[in-house]
């Protein structure tokens, strides 16, 4: 059971609840396959650095989940079939990124600030 983090970019054409609904479809699929949702984040509409499929903005979602290796392949198969999906990126979280995400959720790391001023991370 590794922990994965997936960032997906949906076309801006979708209204908010449509985007939310399509995300929920994926989340149900994940939990159906035995994955366990850890965290979900919605960045909403953001400007893209370069146009993708002739669109210059996209709706960003970040989901973190614990799953087996084969679950990710199935998920990405669905991503490929979805036309509303502009781009997706899945990475496996190692101990440093896991710790970073936890600390970010706890708010120890400021908005994008990388240097944890108070303590230096000397964790193993």
């Amino acid at each position: 059971m590794n922990q994965y983090e997936t960032v997906i970019v949906l076309t801006p054409v979708l209204s908010d609840d449509e985007a939310k609904r399509s995300l929920d479809v994926y989340k149900e699929m994940l939990t159906g396959l035995g994955a366990e949702m850890v965290h979900e984040e919605r960045w909403g509409l953001k400007q893209l650095a370069y146009p993708i499929k002739k669109k210059t903005t996209g709706i960003y979602f970040v989901i973190e989940y614990k799953a087996d290796a084969n679950v990710v392949a199935k998920l990405e198969l669905q991503f490929n079939r979805d036309e509303q999906m502009l781009r997706y990126l899945t990475i496996r979280l190692d101990k440093f990124s896991l710790d970073y995400n936890e600390r970010k959720r706890r708010g120890e790391i400021g908005k994008g600030r990388k240097e944890p001023a108070a303590e230096t991370t000397t964790n193993a």
Binding site: V7, L89, Y100, E115, T122
Partner: protein, 88 residues
């Protein structure tokens, strides 16, 4: 031949002055470089959006590779451009 002492330079030359480069990640104990926030990664990219070499950023090899990987991932997600002008 003018002896070395009384050679006058018009401007203060910075020839001798080399700043000790250090790896900012080792110094501040950062362990993970997040590809999801581009404003931190912009420090390692020049105006055209191209990655800066180690001799400029001063990173150690281990962290320069992680920065490179993070920049490539954020480019993939269109958080950072592949090539642009006047990025900063």
């Amino acid at each position: 031949m003018a002896s070395n002492k009384n050679i006058r330079f018009l401007a203060a030359t910075k020839l001798g002055m080399t700043r000790k480069k250090y790896c900012r990640f080792k110094k501040s104990g950062i362990r993970y470089i997040d590809y999801k926030n581009p404003d931190f990664l912009l420090k390692f990219v020049n105006e055209q959006g191209k990655m800066l070499p180690r001799r400029i950023t001063g990173n150690s090899l281990k962290y320069q590779r992680r920065v490179a990987q993070a920049v490539k991932r954020s480019r993939q997600l269109a958080l950072m451009p592949y090539v642009t002008d006047l990025l900063k």
